[in-house]
């Protein structure tokens, strides 16, 4: 009797696993992530005898991974929404540089700091800077949104153009100008909670939680799916398609400006030529690994978080294995393709 029950529960676990695997699109992604974390843990070496210090180094490694990927993780969340509407945003890296430069120009403690000139300094300056930068990011995103909706420029083209314009103008304006950011500003990223520098991770988690809720329970979030899945049907169901798209790009700009603030406050400076280069591709990769369909209509905020973590753990693993850094992207590319192949297989079965 007892034996039978064990057997039964075993088969039911297997059934449950099979069912989840083929019906829950996030399940296979989650399993992939777990496997990668197990490999990573094994590679790092597990030590029973001195569990305390092992756990210390393990969690330190994780905090590093998460902190390093928080900015791009936030951008990837916005990218998920953009892709779900059937669009794409290539301009995120350039927007990051533009909003980052704007933040530094506002804050500069040298001769040319904009807020300094009008006499605002200290904490008020920092708060104002955050507000202005968020607005600026929102506006840059809206600009792209308007050209996609009112101007009917395909998103790929509109954001390709914006990418070139934003970065080039920023580089030109910031030529020969090296603003210095006040030390207080750096606290945004480096404020320590119980000796741990985890602020960027907290921002990421909060934003992910908010956007998860938005995608599941709000009209805006559900309209995104409708628009990406069938634009005509959405419009004929009373969805203001242009408004949804506009808001998605504006939100993208807003999220990028948050990432810019985190980045500037982490290092205190910005390389206008190099910062954010390839960011759009990394964000797209995270979304795609997380189950977002490039055709629109299908996407998961939680999946994108998993996707970002998978890519991050992979990078960490490559480091630990001593793979030459230039080969890193090759593995990333393979993971993206493998993830899509895995999900494709699920769908057909």
């Amino acid at each position: 009797m007892g034996n039978e029950m064990v057997v039964n529960s075993r088969t039911s676990y297997l059934e449950w696993f099979k069912y989840k695997w083929s019906n829950d699109p996030l399940f296979s992604i989650f399993i992939g992530l777990v496997i990668m974390i197990i490999i990573q843990t094994l590679v790092l070496g597990f030590d029973y005898n001195s569990f305390g210090s092992w756990f210390q180094s393990w969690s330190n490694n994780w905090i590093n991974i998460l902190r390093n990927n928080a900015g791009i993780g936030i951008v990837a969340l916005g990218m998920t929404f953009v892709i779900m509407t059937g669009g794409i945003d290539l301009a995120v890296g350039a927007t990051l540089v533009a909003t980052g430069a704007f933040a530094m120009a506002l804050l500069d403690v040298g001769q040319r700091g904009i807020l300094g000139i009008i006499g605002v300094t200290g904490y008020p300056a920092i708060i104002l800077t955050i507000i202005f930068v968020l607005i600026f990011g929102y506006l840059l995103g809206s600009l792209i949104g308007v050209s996609v909706t009112k101007g009917m420029v395909p998103p790929f083209i509109a954001t390709l153009g914006a990418m070139m314009v934003f970065r080039s103008v920023t580089q030109h304006l910031m030529q020969g100008y090296n603003p210095r950011v006040p030390v207080e500003f750096l606290q945004i990223a480096s404020f320590k909670i119980g000796n741990l520098m985890i602020m960027p991770i907290i921002y990421w988690l909060i934003i992910a939680a908010i956007l998860y809720y938005v995608s599941k329970r709000t009209t805006f979030g559900r309209h995104i799916i409708a628009v990406g899945s069938n634009e005509r049907a959405a419009n004929l169901s009373g969805v203001n398609v242009n408004k949804v798209k506009l808001r998605v790009y504006a939100l993208m700009g807003l999220l990028v400006s948050i990432a810019a603030i985190i980045q500037v406050s982490r290092i205190g400076s910005m390389d206008y030529a190099g910062a954010g280069r390839g960011m759009e591709m990394d964000a797209i990769a995270a979304a795609v690994v997380g189950g977002t369909s490039m055709m629109g209509g299908r996407g998961f905020i939680l999946g994108t978080v998993y996707g970002m973590l998978i890519i991050a753990v992979l990078n960490n693993l490559l480091n630990l294995f001593g793979v030459p850094p230039l080969l890193g992207d090759a593995f990333k590319g393979l993971i993206v393709i493998a993830a899509v192949l895995l999900q494709r297989k699920d769908k057909s079965s």
């Binding site: 329970r217 709000t218 009209t219 805006f220 559900r222 309209h223 799916i225 409708a226 990406g228 899945s229 069938n230 005509r232 049907a233 959405a234 419009n235 004929l236 169901s237 009373g238 969805v239 203001n240 209509g297 299908r298």
Partner: protein, 505 residues
């Protein structure tokens, strides 16, 4: 040439889709394959087309046993399958579409355009079609696209052509064109398998018929020996109503009035008015502008000039959301393109239009919607598994009921239904008619746009017939006949004499 399918059985999982079906199709005949959605027609034809393989049973062509493991095998045996969704590339010219995937090449390896054009024109001549083979397929109307598909089958020397609901998206005029083509094919000794829900078309064009129900062949014979009522009865297994349904009702106040409505060339100077509790039909042929007219009233299209009065008040509708908020609902034609959102489940598809109404600061109130959906899915007799199943798991009829439930949930004052029974099986069709009339009893003004005269005649109190963007005439009560509707729809007028001749009034 003849094809025999013997004792075909096929099941998907635990679902026996075909239970021992045998058919013979000969060259030079049009063979109607009938049945409700889910009766097994598509599966049977997919087996003949090599898409699926039978669990049991055999297929033989000209008496020789064949095994179709993939679609190409079937094509090589001379069987062509024209799917409901046409496989044409709009951005290529006709002649390249004709040779898609089998493009002839010159010695140097480049495309042999001359041969493609020559062969295409040869086929056109043989089939008596006047079309420029260099035209882009995207510029053709639906009937010519269907004809191009048929010609493509001819170019591969197909001797049996399967046509899956070829007339669904066509107007009466276009259907005639396709029928002419089918007769020509018959004369060239080609066998045609004609799958359709439209029984009067079957009577018109088919020689023999077979009816499938629940995976069984329930009836087979000569079309001339049966009536449409017989066929409908075979399909559903019981008697089907054909009597007019419109009910006597006290009409209320005027709710919608339109004056001089014009949009570019789609419709011109439209005047009409509708009262509460009325069921008004709008019909016509392709290019009559009725869909465009009501899409404009619904705020999905623009208006060049003219006025819309709702409850006597002059209103301007700039978006579909505004229209919904004002109590106007529009169920669009072509469900798949215009109404179904594939990435959302049944429940979401049925509640999307009311999300903004029942939400607080943008957060959707799911409880209200679940309640509403439970109520409506019972009222509309929606057959489904779980509420969270994918919308595409439902049959056409049930999908349409879900779309209808979405609009009823908005509590409309005016419900516009554009081809409400398109791609819907006979049973669901009757359900939908009943719902329409019940709603009219609940004091909702209903507009039915349909290209099927029989539908208009059965359901509507009166009908406006449109022709090339203008209202050509109005028919009331028993003035609504196939003949009168066709007369007006083709641009003709009805004189008083004719009224009298037709009705002896």
């Amino acid at each position: 040439m003849f094809v025999e399918m013997n004792h075909i059985k096929k099941s998907f999982g635990s679902n026996d889709v075909l239970k021992d079906v045998s058919l013979t199709i000969n060259g030079g005949e049009v063979y109607a394959l009938l049945g409700e959605n889910g009766a097994g027609k598509s599966t049977l034809m997919n087996i003949l087309g090599g898409v699926h393989q039978p669990d049991e049973g055999t297929i033989s062509v000209n008496g020789e046993l064949e095994k179709f493991n993939k679609p190409v095998d079937s094509q090589e045996a001379g069987i062509a399958f024209i799917h409901q969704e046409l496989n044409l590339i709009n951005d290529l010219p006709i002649y390249e579409n004709m040779f898609l995937g089998r493009e002839p090449r010159t010695k140097t390896g480049s495309l042999d355009l001359e041969k493609m054009i020559r062969d295409t024109e040869e086929i056109f001549q043989k089939m008596n079609i006047k079309l420029d083979s260099k035209k882009m397929v995207g510029d053709l109307d639906s009937s010519y696209k269907q004809i191009i598909e048929i010609c493509r089958a001819m170019i591969t020397n197909a001797s049996i052509i399967i046509m899956d609901e070829p007339t669904t998206s066509l107007t009466d005029q276009e259907i005639e064109r396709v029928f002419e083509m089918m007769v020509t094919l018959k004369n060239h000794n080609v066998g045609l398998i004609f799958i359709s829900h439209k029984l009067n078309e079957v009577m018109q064009i088919c020689d023999r018929y077979a009816v499938l129900r629940d995976g069984n062949l329930v009836s087979e014979g000569l079309v001339k020996d049966v009536t449409t009522d017989d066929l409908a009865r075979f399909m559903v297994g019981y008697d089907v109503r054909t009597e007019p349904l419109s009910r006597k009702r006290d009409l209320g106040e005027e709710i919608l009035r339109v004056e001089g409505l014009t949009y570019k060339h789609a419709f011109k100077n439209i005047d009409f008015s509708i009262r509460v509790g009325e069921v008004v039909g709008f019909t016509g042929l392709l290019g009559d502008g009725r869909s465009e007219l009501f899409q404009s009233i619904f705020g999905a299209n623009d208006i060049s000039s003219g006025k819309i009065y709702l409850n006597g008040k002059d209103i301007k509708i700039k978006s579909t959301l505004q229209a919904i908020n004002k109590g106007i609902a529009y169920l669009p034609r072509n469900r798949k393109e215009n109404a179904i959102i594939r990435d959302m489940d049944i429940f979401e598809n049925s509640s999307i239009a009311t999300w903004p109404k029942f939400s607080k600061r943008g957060v959707i109130n799911t409880y209200i919607h679940k309640d509403k959906f439970k109520h409506l899915s019972e009222k509309l007799k929606i057959k489904m598994g779980k509420r969270t199943d994918n919308i595409t798991s439902l049959s056409g009829g049930n999908q349409q009921k879900v779309v209808l439930s979405k609009w009823i949930a908005t509590d409309p004052k005016i419900l516009i239904l554009d081809n409400p029974t398109q791609g819907v099986d006979v049973g669901s069709k009757e359900d939908i008619y009943d719902i329409i009339l019940d709603l009219a009893d609940e004091n909702i003004a209903i507009v039915v746009l349909s290209s099927e005269a029989s539908e208009i005649i059965r359901v509507c109190d009166r009908t406006l017939v449109m022709y090339q963007g203008v209202i050509q005439g109005e028919l009331k009560g028993n003035e609504m006949t196939d003949h009168n509707i066709m007369r007006l729809a083709t641009g003709g007028e009805l004189t008083n004499k004719e009224w009298e001749a037709n009705y002896g009034k």
